[in-house]
């Protein structure tokens, strides 16, 4: 068992070094900067006009988005688990579409779809006046967050559900609702909690959607104030204010996330035997059709129309022209697809792949460590850099490492790791506690080498979670622009940086084309991954000791 102790020590060492490097050091350097440069001004900054309403807006937005996105994402995951759902494979991919689109583009696409003179206005003469209000901001941030909740919950279902128990309950006469309430949802507890924390933190730090959509209503958040200060940060006072507000976000995140992690985490965990079969009791055909209709409506309204509006913008010669054939152009696409951008695209793909791979390892290690006392708190710690808006996190890294790594791909990689660590960790964490330690011991005692035991006992049931974590990190890193555009140097320009440098953020045509190209480029590998995940699930299902039980004839 000395080997196990060494392994644990080494794991803790690696995670600690990484957490200190990419999370703690930037935060401490930022705090030190405020201390040295702003000392006396901090009180003024925290009592400045308008800050209290920005804090209130930020907090309410995060609460509202969490309360809406978590049930919605969970419902989608539960619905898509039904094997008899028409078009299940298709919807599973569709639900993830918002991950492929940078959030400011999602904001634009909603304005184009539902705003005044937008898609529905042109077509049907109706528009949604609320789209440029706090309500609109909330709805779009929810749409942006739902895929994450869906992914974490789906992975949680794959890893934690007890189909045999559910079937037994149904056969014994339990209604679908009572099975959901007493068996499925309690087992999903850790996944739901982890999704809620992630969405909350993500929303605290969200910048682009409030800025793009909330501006007309004067809706300010902490992040929009930070940006406004950074815009004037040639003035040391504004710079100090930006950093102070960023740290305020971190404090809010700590105050909410630390208790949530400390209380919810251990309580929601249950030790169970390992069976892996993620398909649920089939349920009625009519129910399946209803669920499919619901998902279709959500997909069309939340993603279909906005993305259609986005494509229309990308192929139209100039804003304000009707998206009809005589106004079509490929210029916006040519601006994205030139040779210089090809090089940048290669660099982006490589950087995103490296980041995602490192992140899955680091996320998995934290998920493993947080199960013991010495590792508690790590989960909270690695979520803190997620709350920082990209520009501020990039600034923190620049302050900490600029003198050595400034302008290199290495500092961009560090930024991706810092920003997305929680993205990688939480889905794995939500799925991990299905691993019974007994099985690992059993494998070792039966003569399996440590790596074999790891591979066969630990990694295989976790594969869907690891792949999901990898995928979400890869996709998010691929179109990341805020941090890269602050950190790049000669030869380390990513695709989004190059494209957005030639067309300012406001030029919607080119920006839309970028999103369309990224979406298309990604759909191919995304499909590959989806097939791989499905294959893994299939493989496990066939290994399952529990044979599928026929549908019950009567359905409540």
């Amino acid at each position: 068992m000395a080997g196990a102790r060494y392994l644990r020590g080494a794991t803790l060492g690696v995670v600690t070094v990484a957490a200190v490097s990419v999370v703690l050091t930037p935060l401490l350097v930022m705090a030190r900067t405020v201390w040295i440069e702003g000392g006396a001004d901090v009180a003024d900054i925290l009592t400045a006009r308008g800050l209290s309403s920005a804090v209130k807006n930020t907090f309410l937005l995060a609460v509202a988005v969490t309360v809406l996105a978590v049930p919605l994402g969970t419902a989608l995951a539960l619905a898509l688990r039904r094997p008899n759902l028409p078009g299940r494979a298709f919807w599973r991919v569709v639900i993830l579409l918002p991950v492929l689109v940078p959030d400011f583009v999602l904001g634009y696409s909603w304005l184009r779809a539902y705003g005044r003179a937008g898609f529905t206005d042109d077509l049907l003469g109706v528009h949604w006046p609320g789209v440029q209000t706090p309500v609109g901001v909330t709805v779009v941030v929810v749409v942006n967050a739902v895929p994450l909740v869906y992914l974490i919950t789906a992975v949680g279902l794959a890893a934690r559900s007890e189909p045999a128990m559910e079937r037994a309950a149904r056969v014994s006469g339990g209604t679908a609702l009572s099975v959901l309430r007493t068996i499925t949802l309690p087992l999903l507890g850790p996944a739901t909690a982890t999704a809620a924390v992630l969405v909350f933190v993500l929303t605290l730090g969200t910048f682009a959607i409030p800025q793009v959509m909330g501006s007309p209503a004067g809706f300010s958040t902490i992040t929009t104030r930070i940006y406004s200060n950074l815009a004037r940060s040639s003035d040391p006072l504004a710079f100090t204010e930006a950093v102070t507000l960023a740290l305020l976000l971190v404090v809010i995140a700590v105050l909410v996330v630390a208790p949530a992690d400390a209380l919810l985490g251990p309580r929601l965990r249950v030790t169970r035997v390992a069976t892996t079969d993620s398909t649920s009791v089939a349920g009625s055909r009519a129910g399946g059709r209803w669920a499919a209709t619901g998902i279709a409506c959500y997909s069309v309204l939340a993603m279909g129309l906005p993305l259609l509006a986005l494509v229309a913008t990308a192929i139209t010669r100039a804003v304000g022209l009707a998206p009809t054939p005589e106004n079509w152009t490929l210029d916006n696409f040519l601006a994205v697809l030139n040779a210089r951008n090809g090089e940048a695209l290669g660099r982006s793909v490589m950087l995103a792949a490296v980041a995602a791979s490192v992140l899955v390892v680091l996320g998995g290690l934290v998920a493993a460590l947080e199960r013991s006392r010495s590792g508690r708190g790590l989960a909270t710690l690695v979520s803190l850099t997620l709350v920082l808006p990209g520009s501020t996190l990039a600034l923190g890294l620049l302050l900490a490492y600029g003198r050595w790594l400034g302008g290199t791909l290495a500092i961009i990689l560090l930024a991706y790791i810092a920003k997305l660590w929680a993205f990688a960790h939480r889905p794995i964490s939500g799925a991990l506690d299905r691993l019974p330690p007994d099985e690992l011991h059993a494998a070792r005692i039966s003569g399996a080498a440590p790596l074999t035991a790891m591979r066969t006992v630990v990694l295989r049931p976790l594969a869907p979670a690891l792949l999901a974590a990898w995928l979400v990190c890869f996709l998010t890193a691929l179109h990341e622009v805020t941090m890269s555009s602050l950190l790049y140097g000669p030869g380390s320009e990513t695709l989004a940086v190059v494209v957005l440098n030639s067309a300012e953020l406001g030029q919607v045509g080119v920006t839309s084309a970028l999103s369309v190209v990224i979406t298309l480029v990604l759909l191919i590998p995304a499909l590959g991954f989806w097939i791989a995940i499905r294959g893994l699930n299939r493989g496990k299902a066939s290994l399952s000791p529990v044979p599928p039980v026929p549908e019950p004839a009567h359905v409540g």
Binding site: T224, L230, A238, L321, A410, G489
Partner: protein
């Protein structure tokens, strides 16, 4: 773009930092290797003057303007290389702030988009102390920096709407619930406009109150104003001339006017970094962009030149132009912005 052919890839860096950076990058060589494997260009070419270094330029000017300028300068000065960092003002300023606090400003030349930013850097002794000989008008330069491009804030109006003749028209009934303005907390050019209106006794900050009372709406960037008016969401708005003409030339249905008392000029100043006081290449680049030759390249690339007599993008014949008092604005900007946010905030 023609520059795509130049074999300049990672790692290229100034000599003074290359070893420290390389050491730090070693653990991540995998990534670095994929970025390219060429050696840094040899410095010290031929020629009498020493205009053959690699210098670093930080700017917020768009790629379409800056790339042809760099190309032309490098063609004129074989051996000279310009490493470019281009980003929107907020990112640019954050990068400078990060540099200054972690080993010093990496740029040898900064070409900013508004004088306020420059004033701050000069006050911190990061830039200035030298300007090239130039014919650029005095109101567009100081002894620390020189204006090399100009943004004009103009008015745009939608199809079927009578274009405004003066800025004050926008507060009238004809534009009720239909005016859109860019957010001065987001865009420096919008802050320049706010500065001008607040300083002109005929307008004052009350102008924004009147706009707001007339149902005006704020959006983030001038480009968002152009887009919103082109789409017919708004009747008229305040945006920059480049954005407006680019949309109009592409076919967007908008009218562009240079309203009375004048389009608001916001010049983009360039300056030498204090640490680059000995760099002949950096000085040569500044001299070039402020010269007639450089100004012509800038104008042909689509930006408004600072030098009179160089023909650039459209300026109507009878257009008048007004200038904010930048020196005064430096002290007022925080209060102004807070006042503005009282009006246009939630």
């Amino acid at each position: 773009m023609a520059r795509s052919g130049t074999p300049r890839k990672f790692p290229i860096m100034t000599l003074r930092t290359s070893f420290a950076r390389l050491a730090a990058v070693l653990p991540l060589m995998l990534i670095a290797a994929c970025g390219g494997s060429e050696q840094a260009p040899t410095t010290g070419g031929s020629g009498a003057s020493d205009i053959s270094e690699t210098i670093t330029l930080y700017t917020c000017v768009s790629d379409t303007t800056i790339q042809p300028v760099i190309e032309a300068f490098e063609d004129d000065n074989p051996g000279a290389t310009i490493d470019l960092f281009r980003a929107p003002t907020a990112d640019l300023n954050a990068r400078v702030a990060g540099d200054v606090r972690s080993g010093g400003l990496q740029a040898d030349v900064i070409w900013a988009c508004d004088p306020l930013t420059m004033q701050d850097y000069v006050a911190q002794d990061l830039l200035g102390g030298w300007t090239p000989e130039t014919e650029v008008a005095e109101e567009l330069r100081t002894e620390d920096y020189v204006g090399v491009a100009v943004l004009y804030m103009v008015a745009v109006s939608a199809e079927g709407v009578t274009p405004p003749e003066s800025w004050s028209d926008l507060t009238g009934d004809a534009y009720a619930d239909g005016v859109v303005v860019p957010d001065p907390g987001f865009a420096a050019s919008a802050l320049g406009a706010l500065g001008y209106f607040s300083q002109d006794p005929d307008f004052g900050i009350e102008y924004y109150q009147a706009l707001k009372d007339n149902g005006a709406v704020q959006v983030s960037a001038p480009d968002d104003v152009t887009t919103g008016v082109a789409e017919g969401v708004y009747k008229a708005g305040i945006t920059n001339a480049n954005s407006a003409y680019a949309a109009q030339n592409a076919g967007s249905p908008i009218e562009i006017v240079w309203p009375e008392p004048g389009a608001i000029a916001i010049y983009g100043p360039a300056a030498l970094a204090a640490d680059a006081a000995d760099s002949d290449t950096a000085k040569a680049f500044l001299t070039y962009i402020a010269s007639e030759e450089g100004q012509t390249v800038i104008a042909e690339a689509g930006s408004y030149p600072a030098l009179e007599g160089v023909s650039g993008p459209t300026i109507p014949e009878d257009a008048s132009i007004v200038f904010p008092d930048w020196a005064a604005l430096a002290d007022q900007k925080d209060d102004l912005l807070a006042d503005y946010q009282q009006i246009f905030g939630a």
